[in-house]
Symmetry: C2
């Protein structure tokens, strides 16, 4: 492997390892020694790539943001109805919360009292959800009287709650839970005509995503490390 | 004030101060010096009451658990329909998340990667929600096909999400958001007959709770400190 490739790979393994340690222990308790050990390199090598724990945190959040963008792009690719896009994205997120430690750690930092890096990933995700609901409203897909802001607050809360619950018990953040949530929610959220076309269990896009992830062994935004130990969210660029 | 009363009061001020520091900085970053300063006592006085930061955390969680029990008891007092009880409890929780730092800190410790005290308040709250849904099912109040476990997962996720969102922005965890959530949720959750009797904005119980809190200046389970600075969740025993 060329020297440059090795450096890129080491950097990416450090990001994965940092995500794992942040996710498991929180930002404050995470030690640089644990992070370098997890990546199989010396503390010196870590210092060569990152000047501080905060810089590692910011890099993890940047990768998580890339991941979020990747998910929302994949779910809008085939231009389904906006509410279907939202349903699909929550399904993909539920699996990614479980599988993608970089996404989990990036979002987790936002909720970590000891973190002041402030990427505000949740706010960005909120902007996207709100945008989809605006389109849904414009296209007459919402039930009478439903305001996009209110629907947005509920969807945000449920996704954030799923993420937090998933940390305690993966079964609480499963695709099945997401499906049941939408089944319960759609009669009050979507207009009758729209509802008939929506699949609470996720559309083709989700199936395509699952297929893609099975083949790619996971892709996390720009993170493309193969064989990153313990992190199922990274894979070599296809 | 008698010596014994002063000791009780100091202990309770320490619990409030610990809750504030845990809530603001997370368990790991919380320092005993900050906690004793917040309570207006010396570190020596803190050590007299609590042998460790962990013991303080456990005491905060015990007080939060008492708070949760107080809320669920208040909401079942007039024996409303089980779904109305659930609606009411989420409304009370939404205001308490904002006002009651001991409750917030107690629940927050459960989600804190650095905390291993393990009171599992969320699990206890989950048990109560599940119980209410079992009664609702038994009484034929759920919409056809709705399983208590699925409804429970959704309600748990939404409440946990509201708590997390409320930490970022109180407006995201307001009574209005809770009302909109239930308005959207009830058509898919409750049977038609039951639905007609439910108030998404909360019943009499919530109004009574609000009234009670206005008069009592806040009560947190066994915590009954008057003039606890910065903590609006504590008050002298009525």
């Amino acid at each position: 492997m060329a020297k440059q490739d090795r450096a890129v790979r080491t950097r990416q393994e450090l990001i994965c390892s940092a995500a794992e340690v942040f996710d498991r222990r929180g930002f404050m308790s995470a030690s640089l020694a644990d992070i370098s050990t997890g990546a199989g390199v010396s503390t010196g090598a870590l210092n060569f790539h990152f000047s501080s724990k905060k810089e590692l945190g910011e890099t993890v959040q940047a990768a998580a943001e890339e991941s979020l963008r990747y998910i929302t792009t994949a779910c809008t690719e085939s231009r389904p109805a906006p509410l279907q896009t939202l349903i699909d994205a929550t399904h993909v997120l539920a699996t990614q919360f479980e599988e993608n430690v970089v996404l989990r750690a990036g979002l987790g930092l936002d909720n970590d009292a000891a973190w002041d890096g402030g990427a505000e990933l949740w706010l960005k995700w909120r902007g996207w959800v709100r945008g989809m609901l605006t389109i849904a409203e414009y296209e007459g897909n919402l039930a009478p009287g439903v305001l996009p802001d209110d629907a947005c607050a509920t969807i945000m809360a449920i996704v954030m709650g799923l993420e937090t619950l998933g940390r305690k018990d993966h079964a609480l953040c499963s695709r099945r839970v997401v499906t049941r949530f939408w089944k319960m929610m759609l009669p009050g959220l979507a207009s009758e005509e729209t509802r008939a076309k929506l699949e609470a269990g996720g559309s083709e896009s989700v199936a395509r995503w699952d297929e893609h992830m099975r083949n790619a062994d996971g892709v996390v935004g720009r993170l493309t490390v193969k064989g990153c130990t313990g992190c199922t969210g990274c894979a070599e660029e296809p």
